[in-house]
């Protein structure tokens, strides 16, 4: 007897079809899985055998062969448990194989016959739909995620016998219907609001500019100046996600196993803040079995690196490529995968190892120690950070002030308008934001008048700006002009941009 069940597997954040072929024939009793299974798939044998028996079926004492086609790609994870069990049940006639035609089956088995959730359901269902499959059987916990795919009939399963009863027509299958639009419309709001931040007006303004042009930011300041607090509020001033962006993020989260029914669709921009002990593979993605890293989890959103110099140097260097390309390519012997990683980098650091240099006499760091600390961030990485802003200490006076700051909603309106202007301007280019402008494009889109040129030249002469600041200043001035709704870059835009490049300046000492 032979049965073929449709299932799926992942490559990067895209799914592809896997056909699970089960054959049962006379011979010495055995149970073999072929088709490049990894350990989790090989172990499916034991789970399937026990789960089938505990669901009240006779497990055949025959020679069982399972093939996972295509046989040349490595199969991982426990998602093949359910299709294998389905194949066996079909072979012994416990279910009707015809009732599975045109369906995809995914799920991990537990020993009692229950069905457990698996990772990456969303991309696998998407790819199944593209292949013309219109119905899916997925674990209950994954059903909402699968139901995000319009045009797919989703049947949620809790156990193997429920599955068998549905297939045999003994139980009515109720497709899961999800009001995706309502889910998407549901609260884009962030838990945090900029109105809570007192003082630090210049940093808030810098973050607004950063959000408007999707510029990367480095905040430097003593402990307790509110760097983390402000970074956390950054998603609240970024424009709302579009549905496509939202699905793309959800796919990444799905692959990483971070999606369950309660939060099937990611509607808010994530804020990822990995600890500084993070490894390179966890940051950019990778591992023997490639998984998306923090940069991908921060796709279309914010990656916050607190205490930037404390991160391992090689981890920081690995950030350079995704910062440039907006995508991570992981190359392995058996194929390569790519994960989207278009994120906004927000980093914070102290001015010196003890944290108080320039702010208080408390600092006892030697100049040597300070320069070693600063040197942990390499020039090429610093080159990719457009905005460098200092956050001074907050004194009691401004903390106790009644005046609430501007709310995130207000700022978001301005940022959204700036985004719209940029989208319109770059509709014929392959970029979306000012931060992505190449030097050649800067010449085209950031023209300066005579007065502006003089001011900029003056600034370079008198303020000790480094040459690498030139293009960044123009990009920033462009963003500030966009925030202002001004078509031309004016003197005050340049003047403000100069204040956003503090680290470029060789200050007195």
């Amino acid at each position: 007897m032979l049965a073929k069940i449709n299932s799926g597997a992942l490559s990067g954040i895209d799914g592809y079809g896997v056909s699970v072929e089960v054959d049962i024939c006379q011979g010495l009793p055995s149970f073999d899985i072929v088709g490049l299974p990894d350990n989790a798939v090989k172990e499916a044998k034991e789970r399937v055998r026990t789960a089938v028996r505990n669901s009240g079926f006779e497990f055949p004492v025959k020679k069982i062969t399972v093939n996972l086609a295509p046989a040349n790609t490595k199969k991982e994870g426990p998602a093949f448990d359910l299709p294998i069990a389905a194949g066996i049940l079909a072979c012994i006639g416990a279910i009707k194989e015809e009732s599975l035609s045109g369906s995809i089956v995914l799920g991990e088995l537990s020993l009692d016959g229950g069905i457990r959730p698996v990772d990456g359901v969303l991309p696998m269902i998407y790819s199944a739909l593209e292949r013309g499959i219109k119905r899916c059987f997925v674990p209950f916990e994954n059903s909402h995620e699968a139901a995000l795919v319009k045009g797919m009939e989703v049947i949620a399963l809790r156990s193997v016998d429920e599955f068998a009863e549905i297939l045999n027509g003994e139980r009515e299958a109720k497709p899961v219907i999800l009001d995706v639009d309502a889910l998407f419309a549901d609260s884009h709001n962030c838990d945090y609001d900029f109105a809570d931040v007192k003082g630090q007006e210049n940093v808030k303004r810098a973050l607004e500019i950063a959000a408007a042009g999707m510029h990367n930011v480095l905040m430097s300041g003593p402990p307790g100046s509110g760097k983390t607090m402000m970074a956390k509020r950054l998603p609240s001033i970024l424009p709302d996600l579009t549905f496509e962006e939202s699905i793309e993020i959800t796919k990444i989260y799905s692959v990483s196993g971070l999606i369950r029914n309660k939060s099937a669709l990611i509607t808010r921009r994530p804020f990822r803040a990995p600890h500084h002990t993070i490894s390179g593979a966890a940051m950019v993605g990778g591992g023997r079995v490639p998984k998306p890293g923090e940069v991908s989890l921060a796709h279309n959103a914010v990656l916050f690196l607190d205490e930037l110099p404390e991160f391992h140097r090689d981890v920081l260097e690995e950030l350079r490529q995704p910062l440039e390309d907006g995508v991570v390519n992981i190359v392995r012997v058996n194929g390569n995968v790519s994960y989207p990683a278009d994120f906004m980098l927000v980093a914070s650091m102290n001015p010196c190892p003890c944290g108080y240099y320039g702010y208080s006499d408390k600092c006892t760091c030697t100049p040597n120690k300070i320069s070693r600390y600063m040197n942990k961030i390499s020039g090429p990485l610093l080159d990719r950070i457009d905005i460098q802003v200092e956050a001074g200490p907050v004194d009691y006076k401004s903390l106790s002030k009644d005046r609430r700051g501007e709310s995130s909603a207000e700022i978001k309106k301005r940022v959204t308008r700036a985004h719209d202007i940029q989208r319109e301007r770059y509709k014929n280019e392959s970029i979306l934001f000012n931060s992505q402008l190449t030097p050649a494009a800067i010449e085209k889109y950031c023209p300066l008048g005579d007065i502006e040129r003089t001011v900029l030249k003056n600034a370079f002469d008198t303020l000790n700006l480094s040459a690498r600041a030139y293009h960044k200043l123009l990009k920033l001035a462009r963003t500030i002009a966009d925030l202002d709704g001004s078509a031309d870059i004016l003197v005050n835009h340049i003047a403000e941009a100069i204040q956003l490049r503090n680290l470029d300046r060789t200050l007195l000492h």
Partner: protein
């Protein structure tokens, strides 16, 4: 062998480590010249009883180990010079001090001694205040044609050199290492700039590493080169106080820049003032100590260039005093929004009315 000059033998004699300068000088006096010390019989050196047995052995050994040709070759390749008293380059001021070095390695050009020199010293750790005063003072002195002498260390030293160079003046750095060693290495640019704006001096042979016991010797040369030593910022136990002491011992004038009595970085300076050193409140104080009378307009840098400020610039400018203020506080004090204030700050900075300090602070330009 015969074509070496006395200068070359002095170079050898001053390279023998562990012998105080006055002992070396006594050796030369005893034997008549450095060349005679080189040629003297070992027995005579020991019998002269100027040196202890160990030191005598060391001296005798070094005669065999020292290769004058090789050292001259190094001098030549580096483009350096070895100067000794009486050769017309060796600063006269220095010969007047006791324990004056027998000779100095020199890289660059010795500024003419028609104008006096002023030493500016201070600690490596600097406050914003110290940095500002140091740069300004050095710049103004250099603007009057005075050579600024310091030690090319980090902090005040480097700022003093920088201030003088930026003002287009002359500067001398006295090193505690060999003249071919740039220490600290972050001052590599400064090292090169000093060579073209004056000279580097060192009494230590080529390749001498920055040993901490070399620096007090270096400090006495800094003090000896100038009539006036200015201590800009020094903590309680700062190396610059050694410079000040040796200046006093050689009856040179020591002046100190007063600081906040609460500031640890100014404690040494304030102590000096308490003990009778004259305070520096402006560059003219130093000029007066040098007996130089200049018209006000000669102090180029202090000339305030009054640029007309726009209304709003004026408003922000009025909120900034001589006490550093953080940008954040400034914004709340001036009641402007961040956007406006940031833009005005740049304009004020471009007009030279204010200065940006580290730690998000601004201050009115001196």
């Amino acid at each position: 062998m015969a074509d070496y000059s006395e200068k070359n033998y002095i170079m050898w004699l001053s390279s023998v480590m562990g012998i105080p300068v006055d002992v070396r000088r006594a050796l030369i006096e005893h034997f008549g010249s450095a060349e005679e010390v080189w040629r003297a019989k070992a027995k005579d050196i020991v019998n002269s009883e100027i040196l202890s047995e160990n030191r005598a052995d060391m001296l005798i050994y070094s005669r065999g180990a020292y290769d004058i040709d090789r050292e001259l070759d190094k001098l030549y390749r580096l483009g350096a010079d070895f100067i000794v008293p009486g050769d017309g380059i060796y600063p006269v001021q220095l010969t007047a001090m006791h324990e004056a070095p027998l000779g100095l390695y020199m890289l660059g050009n010795m500024p003419s001694d028609t104008m006096p020199m002023v030493s500016i010293v201070g600690s490596r750790r600097v406050s914003d205040y110290g940095a500002m005063v140091c740069t300004k003072t050095a710049g103004e002195l250099a603007g009057c044609g005075i050579t600024v002498v310091s030690g090319m260390a980090m902090g005040i030293d480097a700022l003093a050199h920088k201030g003088a160079i930026d003002a287009g003046g002359k500067t001398i750095a006295v090193l505690g290492t060999g003249i071919d060693v740039c220490y600290p290495s972050v001052n590599r640019n400064l090292y090169n700039e000093i060579i073209s704006a004056g000279c580097l001096l060192s009494e230590f042979p080529f390749g001498t590493a920055p040993n901490k016991f070399n620096f007090p010797y270096r400090n006495r040369i800094i003090a000896g080169l100038s009539k006036v030593t200015v201590v800009v910022e020094a903590a309680e136990k700062s190396g610059s106080l050694i410079t000040a002491m040796s200046a006093i011992e050689n009856s040179r004038t020591v002046m100190a820049v007063p600081g906040n009595i609460t500031s640890a970085l100014s404690r040494g300076c304030n102590e000096l003032i308490k003990n009778g050193c004259a305070p520096v409140t402006c560059t003219e104080d130093i000029l007066e100590a040098l007996d130089i009378r200049l018209n006000k307009k000669d102090l180029k840098n202090s000339e305030k260039i009054l640029i007309p400020l726009a209304e709003d610039e004026k408003m922000l400018y009025d909120c900034i005093g001589y006490e550093p203020i953080t940008v954040d506080e400034l914004i709340s004090r001036s009641d402007m929004d961040a956007k406006e204030a940031m833009c005005l700050l740049t304009m004020l900075e471009l007009k030279g009315c204010i200065r940006r300090l580290s730690g998000q602070k601004v201050v009115r330009s001196l």
